[in-house]
Every structure is written in structure tokens, then in C-alpha cells.
């Protein structure tokens, strides 16, 4: 797997964009800015997925992450009050010692990982070189007979077909488990985010808690008596 020409240029553009946007995500003072930088980072990584020939995953990334999860994040940021943070009264980072330790160990981890990845990749490359060359030759021969729109960098891949096929052929049980997981997440988040008022109107609240809540807000007594 070696990228050439414009693919290499786009690789560097999008990876630098992903890293810079990721850094700005964790350094922005305003949480809304953090969310917007995270969106740019996720879109850049989706572009890297396209460079790697995983168009389906790139589409899922943009639809689910950017279209679903990040909109949820933005709504929650609007629901909670971040005014103090924006005006600069509250420090956005933890204690200095903790931040220093985290940055030092992060840099050590980065150095170690980059060194280890390069060393390990050299060995992998040496052992897989013949296999890759043989496969490249075979695919090259297959592409000789195709129309020019279906070859080279501009080919339309069968990625979605392959992913869908193996998702249902080899991973149908995890697929069903994932749907149950999403159902649990929906019900759990609805239950977690209810107010005392909503719990009282569904007659689903501890009597002691309800007594305290009624003392603070007499309106709730009406809801409770309506239930009985």
C-alpha cells in the first residue's frame, strides 16, 4: 500500500488537518468551538478513509458522527450553562502539575509509538513484499480489459458490496447485538434525562424524594393526586 501523486498530497493535507483540528478540540475555551473543531477532525479522517478505499465507512462516519453524534453534543452544550467558561472566569484545564505530567507522558508515548511503528513496519514490508508484488501484478492484468473509468485511482470500488456481504454473512449475530445495544442506549438515556416532574407524572418516583420535591415546588402535588 503506497500512495502516489495527488493521493499523497491529499493524504498530507487531510492528516495535518485532522491533527490540528484535534489539538484545537482539546484546547478551545468555548465548548461549541471544541465541537466544531471535532467535526472538522472527523471529516478529515473520513477523507483519509476514502483515500484508503473505504468509501462506505467514510459515508457512515459523516452520517453517524457528524450528522448524529455531534448534533447531540451541540444540543447538550446548549442545554447546560457554559457562560462562566466563555467569559474566562473558570480555568479550562486541571491543575498545572497534572497537565504537565499528561503532556510529558503523552510526548514520551508519541515518540515510542512512532519509533516502534516504523521499526515494525520495516519488518512487515520485508516479509510481505513478494505477496504484494504478485497481487499488484494480477490486479494490473485484470484491469487491462476494463474500461478506463473502472481502472486506476479513479475506479469505482465494490467496497460497499463487500462490507455489506461480510457484515451479514460473518457478523450477523454481532449485528443483532448492536441493534439491542442501541435500543438499550435509547431507553437508558431517556430514563437518565427525566426530571422529577416527568417521573411524578409517570408515577415512577420514590415517595421520600417526591415529598422533598413537593416541598420545593408545590405544583408537583397536583400531578401526584391526578395519578391516584
Amino acid at each position: 500500500m503506497v500512495l502516489n501523486g495527488w493521493e499523497a498530497v491529499f493524504f498530507w493535507v487531510f492528516s495535518v488537518a485532522a491533527l490540528v483540528a484535534g489539538l484545537l478540540t482539546i484546547m478551545a475555551r468555548n465548548a461549541v468551538h471544541s465541537a466544531l473543531f471535532l467535526i472538522s477532525s472527523l471529516v478529515s479522517v473520513a477523507a483519509l478513509f476514502i483515500l484508503l478505499g473505504a468509501e462506505f465507512i467514510a459515508g457512515v462516519q459523516i452520517l453517524v458522527y457528524v450528522g448524529g453524534v455531534m448534533v447531540l453534543f451541540l444540543f447538550v452544550i446548549m442545554l447546560v450553562n457554559v457562560g462562566a467558561e466563555e467569559r474566562g472566569r473558570e480555568p479550562i484545564f486541571n491543575h498545572t502539575a497534572q497537565v504537565t505530567a499528561a503532556v510529558i507522558f503523552g510526548l514520551l508515548l508519541a515518540g515510542g509509538l512512532v519509533y516502534a511503528l516504523n521499526q515494525g513496519y520495516k519488518g512487515m514490508q520485508a516479509s510481505d513484499r513478494d505477496k504484494i508484488a504478485a497481487i499488484t501484478d494480477r490486479r494490473e492484468a485484470e484491469q487491462q480489459n476494463m474500461p478506463s473509468a473502472a481502472t486506476g485511482t479513479f475506479r469505482i470500488t465494490k467496497d460497499t458490496e463487500r462490507v455489506g456481504g461480510s457484515l451479514y454473512r460473518y457478523a450477523s449475530l454481532p449485528f443483532e447485538i448492536a441493534s439491542v445495544l442501541l435500543l438499550v442506549a435509547i431507553i437508558g438515556s431517556v430514563m437518565l434525562a427525566r426530571t422529577v416532574k416527568q417521573e411524578a407524572s409517570a408515577d415512577d418516583v420514590d415517595p421520600e424524594v417526591l415529598k422533598e420535591a413537593i416541598a420545593a415546588e408545590p405544583e408537583l402535588a397536583k400531578l401526584e393526586s391526578a395519578n391516584e
Partner: protein
Amino acid sequence: MSSLLTPIFALLLQDESLGWLQRIGLGLKHPDLSKFLVIGALLFIIGVAGVLTRRNIIVIFMSIELILNAANLNFIAFSRYLHDTGSPSAVAGQVFTVFIIVVAAAEAAIGLGIVIALYRNKETIWADEIDLLKW
């Protein structure tokens, strides 16, 4: 294409014959699997640093999304590499990535539900002020 690729592989392996500057230039011109892995590792470290240093619990959740995304990038890069070596199970990495995205969506929904419940009860989103379980 292969006539173009084979000398590149040969060049990348002949470390002794090239100066380090030439090797870096070659790496910049022809990014390969290791470059994707390095980008994934750096994104992961940025996410870890965000989790460890930020006080805003929503930004901590965003950093967790960054970490999961770095893992996805590694999965897809290895999937492409295995595809190029002709492995029949190359697409498994992409299938796994779909499940990671599902788990990330579920985690974000539950986590943000907890944040909203917490904000109602404690009126704070600072992670260091949420210490009900602290002795």
C-alpha cells in the same frame, strides 16, 4: 503500476544506500501504511491528553470520540494493507469499524444523558467538582 511500485519498495528497503534526508523525502512523496498508523497514534495521544487535562466533562467526551476515531483509522489502514496482500479476510477491519461507530454512538447518548441528569442535580459540568463518590 507494478513496474512503478517495485522500485519504490526496493528503495524503501535500501536504507544504507540513501541519506536520511532522501529517505524522508521518499516517505513524504509515497506515504504508506506506517504513515497512517503514525497519524492514528498521534490522534489517540491527543485524545488521551484531552481526557487527562480538561475540566469540562463534555470536552472529555469529545476526546473519547477522538480516541475511538484513531482506532478506526488503524483498522481501515490495516484493512487496506491486507487487501493489498491478497488476504481473504481484509474486509473484517471495515466490519469491525462499523461496530465501533455503533458503540461510540451508544456511548455518546448514555454519557450525555448522564451529563444532563448531573447538571440538573449538581449545577456543574466541571469534572473535578463532581466528587460524590470521593471519601
